[in-house]
């Protein structure tokens, strides 16, 4: 660890955040009869590490209320210039501060939970989830808490973050631009275009953290379209690549704070049923959890009670 912030990182607090994310998403999934549960299980530690101290973000005065949707950005209107994105939940921007761009917008529920656990989004923020007129949308867009870009069409964030990283490099800013990606996005060609361009333009201020949970909408990635060997591929594209267990917070945070003179990608291999083994019964398709019977709901309620004990 070469970053002085490393010594200040509170692993115990990160564990609390990760556990809070799983609980919140499970509670929400039970009460709404549906949710992106496996994504919470796989990425809880990853997002806990990011929001829990890896990211150098400006503090907020307190948790922000999720704003109502005020309309889309519209050319020729004053609102375009001052359009408030969900990046406001990451605090004011600054030259020495980090940026955090969420790529897989389907993780929105998990991101909102992470923002609540880190006192950036109001405690009852998930009550507005998928409610008409709310910005706490199911597939987050740039008005949604934590979102700075509109990336529900997957794999478009890395290019945009690369553009932001170039801009910050031109301005001589020292802060990093981070992107959170899912492994499924490595099936899209644009990801590889962005990887080659980022190393070509020497974007050493660019960081990517990936939830390699090996699961996607149709089922296990190995059965849909294999992306392995991912580490070799990304390395061959000119990136520094680290491989970690995505649930090992000390290892994860340590690697995240490493210095690099190349763009740096941290591949977090994760377990999509971590902390909720009951989800194993849903294999092979884990993408979205909707209960099939009252018996199943009862089982998940029991699991929730176990979790909060």
């Amino acid at each position: 660890m070469s970053d002085s912030r490393a010594e200040k990182l509170d692993i115990v607090e990160m564990q609390r955040i990760a556990s809070g994310i799983r609980k919140r998403v499970l509670a929400h999934t039970i009460s709404n009869n549906g949710g992106y549960m496996s994504q919470a299980c796989s990425s809880a530690e990853l997002l806990a590490a990011m929001y829990g101290g890896v990211l150098n973000l400006a503090p907020l005065d307190g948790a922000i209320n999720p704003p109502n949707f005020i309309g889309v950005p519209l050319v020729g209107t004053p609102s375009v210039k001052n359009y408030k994105t969900g990046a406001q939940f990451h605090g004011v921007k600054g030259a020495s501060l980090d940026r955090f761009i969420i790529s897989p917008a389907h993780y929105a529920l998990v991101v909102y939970a992470a923002l609540i656990e880190t006192n950036r989004l109001r405690e009852d923020g998930l009550d507005f989830f998928n409610k008409d007129g709310s910005t706490v949308e199911m597939i987050g867009a740039e008005h949604s808490p934590g979102f700075e870009t509109t990336t529900g069409s997957l794999s478009q964030a890395l290019s945009q973050a690369g553009g932001i990283a170039i801009a910050r490099k031109i301005r001589g800013e020292t802060g990093k631009t981070w992107v959170f990606m899912s492994d499924g996005e490595f099936q899209e060609g644009q990801t590889w275009e962005a990887l080659q361009a980022s190393s070509f333009h020497k974007l050493s201020n660019l960081r990517v953290i990936v939830d390699v949970n090996q699961a996607q909408c149709d089922g296990p990635m190995e059965s849909v379209m294999s992306i392995e060997p991912l580490v070799d591929k990304v390395r061959a594209f000119g990136w520094k690549v680290s491989v970690v267990s995505g649930h090992d917070l000390p290892e994860l945070t340590s690697v995240c704070l490493e210095e690099s003179n190349q763009p740096h990608m941290i591949l977090c291999y994760t377990d999509p049923v971590r902390g909720l083994p009951l989800l194993n019964e849903r294999r092979p398709v884990l993408h979205y959890l909707r209960f099939k019977s009252s018996e199943e709901i009862a089982k998940y309620k029991l699991a929730y009670e176990e979790m909060v004990k």
């Binding site: 889309v72 950005p73 519209l74 050319v75 020729g76 375009v80 210039k81 359009y83 740039e142 700075e148 870009t149 509109t150 990336t151 529900g152 069409s153 478009q156 890395l158 290019s159 945009q160 973050a161 690369g162 553009g163 932001i164 990283a165 170039i166 801009a167 910050r168 031109i170 301005r171 060609g189 644009q190 275009e193 962005a194 080659q196 361009a197 070509f200 333009h201």
Partner: protein, 337 residues
């Protein structure tokens, strides 16, 4: 009629124009010299970013730069700005209404590069994208003055750009005016609306038709979206026999369609004839050959006027003023494309 031919009107003009605008960047996708920004790159290397043949990423990176307050000017062939990377164009650039300038060269059938290089439905696609402004260059004066117009728009702008040897039809001191048609002639029988290179083509036939007593209101339109110009709306209402549109594009979704929409909404009862590609792809051949093959020429215009007025004017092809045609191999172009 012959016009002054300007060689590479964009090249030096863009260099001069960018000088005091540090926020202006250039992104290219391996067509730098072909889009007349090779010298720009050499003069402003810190503001030039080669993105390689990877347009989806180029559009995304442009979006990121624009979010940070830079103004990226993407230079490539028109087809590569909207066909392959349409989702990126819409979600990364158009939705957030970012100040990205898309310089699309080789609009319509201007290239022997064939179907893969001919942007024949770009206006149709772009018109349907919210927040998008569409401009089209019609001559060297517009190639020069379009930069200020695009620069001032607080959102994405798509430009059908011209390069190489370009005629100067409009005086240098009469620059591009946003959403304002140029009135090239007035008359009450026919309203003719042309854009881009079709204006020069139409001007081969218009004087001959006028000599035969046809009153023609001829408008040159360079702002394709928004399409709300009162000059255009008025001219559509005053045509006695009908309206003709002429575009270097498919007749579906371009200026012909935009005019049809305005006419239908205003309840105009006259006929509309759309000159353009009739729902077909084209192929690799010279511009002149293709314009004749697909009926995008002065002869086609005469034919449509005759149909609308139920008259024959006996104008022979040799009478249609021979305008210059650009040779495929020219020192003003980086390659024969």
């Amino acid at each position: 009629m012959s016009y002054e031919i300007v060689s590479r009107p964009h090249e030096q003009n863009f260099i001069d124009w960018s000088k005091d605008k540090p926020e202006v960047l250039v992104l290219t996708a391996d067509l730098t010299n072909s889009c007349e920004v090779g010298r720009w790159r050499d003069i402003y290397p810190d503001r030039y970013f080669s993105m390689g043949m990877a347009e989806q990423n180029m559009l995304g990176m442009a979006a990121g730069l624009a979010r940070e307050g830079f103004e990226p000017w993407l230079h490539t062939f028109a087809v590569f700005l909207y066909r392959r990377p349409l989702d990126q164009l819409q979600m990364s650039i158009a939705y957030p209404s970012l100040k990205v300038r898309l310089m699309g060269f080789l609009p319509g059938i201007m290239t022997p590069g064939g179907v893969t290089h001919q942007a024949i439905e770009d206006v149709a696609v772009m018109r349907s994208i919210p927040n998008m402004t569409i401009l089209e260059v019609g001559d060297a004066t517009e190639a020069e003055s379009i930069l200020d117009i695009a620069h001032a728009i607080d959102g994405p702008v798509y430009i059908r750009a011209l390069r190489g040897e370009v005629s100067r039809i409009f005086p240098k001191n009469e620059p591009f005016k946003f959403n304002t048609a140029r009135i090239l002639s007035t008359g009450s029988d026919i309203t003719l609306i042309t854009s881009g290179i079709m204006t020069e083509e139409a001007l081969r036939a218009v004087p001959l038709l006028q000599e035969k007593g046809v009153g023609i209101t001829h408008l040159h339109v360079s702002t394709l979206k928004p399409f709300t110009d009162p000059i255009v709306i008025k001219a559509l209402e005053t045509a006695k026999y009908g309206v003709i549109t002429m575009e270097n594009h498919s007749i579906i979704g371009g200026i012909g369609s935009a005019v049809a929409e305005l006419m239908a909404e205003s309840g105009s009862g006259v006929a509309l004839k759309r000159i353009g590609l009739k729902d077909t792809y084209a192929h690799g051949a010279s511009q002149k050959y293709l314009m004749s093959e697909y009926g995008l020429d002065a002869k086609a215009l005469v034919g449509e006027v005759e149909k609308l007025m139920s008259q024959e004017f006996n104008i022979s092809e040799s009478e249609l003023v021979e305008v210059r045609t650009v040779s495929v191999h020219s020192s003003a172009k980086a390659e024969a494309l």
